[in-house]
Amino acid sequence: MSHLRIDRPGLSTTIQDLGRPGRQRYGVPVSGALDPLALRLANALVGNPAGTAALEILALGPTLTVEAPSVRVALVGSEVGLKIDGTAIPAGRSVTVPQGARISVGGFTDAASCILAVEGGFALAPAMGSLSTYARGGFGGFEGRALKAGDLVPLAEATATAGPERKSGQIDYGDGPIRVVLGPQESWFEPAAIERFFAEPYTVTAEADRMGMRLEGAKLAHARGFNIVSDGIAPGHIQVPGTGQPIILLADRQTVGGYPKIGAVIGADLPRLGRMRPGETLRFARIEVAEAEAARRAQEAAFMALVQAIGPVVMVPTTEQLLSQNLIDGVVSA
């Protein structure tokens, strides 16, 4: 069986796909990649279906050894790129790595997470229809946990297929304030608190993980207390506990909760949010649901155009290589 051997796991490297919707009524979180656009693009680069499971890497990447005749990989989401036995390979393109070579991803600060996809994905049994790791529950991915040194992660394809390497342009994550739809508990806040929420900057604190990110900024005063009878939680929901400081709920969010939710980050801005690191500052802007739906459709169209535009890596051979191949003998005279 072909494997990737984990020499060093990095800070937190887990297997993630697009998540396991459909079982929230049983209390099972959806999980999935924090940056689903990076997952889909990395998969496209190695020729996989968009939702194939890949490695999600947080802040500091792993070192892996290829225990297969070869494997094709691509890193998307951070410009940190890959090192293959020390040779730098930029992000946003595929590369085929030979047996015994070491793939390493260093520390990065341009995003909180990035994705390393492998051609064919992993030969692991899904839990409830998904390979996404939910570490709190101990299921999904590789033994329900983040990877550790010594793990042998089985590859679904014995070897890389023939064919050119492929590269893509950059994902447009958008910029400007993070857009939020109010609700369902906006009436639990003082009107002045809602004004402050959209007027003041917030900083991502160190208490940020796959479940959610705790923010620090203008304190939001509740008008009706901070204990509601629990109701459902949506992706990007912003709950405000008694501290008055908002918590944005991300991929591993619980399915129901009992704190008032002032609003939810729109789908088009969730990938950008999932990339934010502790210490970064953000601002919120209020929009309506119909605008959010339009923004999501526009983002999807732009993303599909980016995937369509994926093309072969144009090799720019060195003079030495050309001469050795005897293609242009005598032409290059300089």
């Binding site: 929230q24 009524r25 209390g27 529950g137 369902p184 629990s230 109701d231 949506a234 609003g263 739906e293």
Partner: protein, 248 residues
């Protein structure tokens, strides 16, 4: 109580909340579960899943396949449709539970708060007919409604960092069974040895919203036997379901 017409509240651009009220009440729970069954039967385009809670139904949808406006119109049309009573109700369960002191560290506190004798607390819980209102907090964790008004207790002021697996607890006129060890702030009055969640099951949780549950008191020896059998894979928890009796 009379259930008012639901409100459609925003929850981002991939979910909407159909809210019947803001409190825990049997009539609201029933309204939510009826809508859940209607939506489940209707298979509306773009709906990914629904999550019933005490007082509202969360409808998760794919915003690339439908819109909030379309979905609200479709749900309003449903609400006027066939009565949900015709659709399959939940299943009935009788769960063995040991109420002996080793499993009931908070029994004395609950007795003091409710004004009941400790035996009466246990007897009231064991005689109560519960409905699974919500499965959440932990995967497979059932929130059971509803106990008499005397059990409208706040959570413990000092939550426990480790509540043992299977703990049966009460607060806020509800009861809960912890499917796995977890932090928790409810009052522990017993322990149920029946496994409630397994990522390898389909569905992964034993209990589902709208299921009916009551508890059957067992002694520590029977509790230990069930627990050991469950750990050895020799115990099928579906034997505790009145609607799934093996015909053999």
């Amino acid at each position: 109580m009379t259930v008012p017409a639901p409100k459609f509240l925003a929850a981002g651009d991939a979910a909407l909340v159909v809210e019947y009220g803001e409190i825990i009440d049997a009539a609201l729970i029933d309204a939510v579960q009826q809508l859940d069954r209607r939506l489940g039967a209707a298979c509306l385009p773009g709906v990914l899943e629904t999550v019933p809670t005490f007082r509202s139904l969360m409808v998760h949808y794919d915003p690339l396949a439908t819109t909030r406006a379309e979905l609200i119109a479709a749900i309003q049309a449903l609400d006027a449709g066939a009565p949900a009573a015709a659709l399959a109700p939940g299943r009935r369960w009788v769960l063995p539970t040991c109420y002996e002191p080793a499993f009931a560290p908070d029994l004395a506190d609950v007795a003091a708060a409710t004004g009941l004798a400790p035996d009466a607390v246990t007897a009231t819980h064991a005689a109560n007919r519960f409905t699974v209102a919500v499965v959440g907090f932990l995967p497979g964790c059932p929130f059971l409604a509803e106990m008499p008004a005397a059990f409208d207790l706040p959570r413990r002021t000092a939550p426990r960092t480790r509540v043992p697996t299977g703990s049966v607890a009460v607060a806020q006129r509800l009861s809960v069974i912890y499917p796995t060890e977890s932090p928790g702030g409810w009052h522990l009055i017993g322990n149920c040895p029946v496994p409630l969640f397994d990522a390898g099951w389909d569905p992964p949780a034993l209990l589902a919203p709208a299921d009916a549950v009551r508890f059957r008191p067992v002694d520590a020896a029977e509790h230990a036997r069930i627990l050991a059998a469950a750990q050895n894979g020799e115990y099928d928890p579906h034997r505790e379901c009145l609607d799934e009796k093996d015909p053999a």
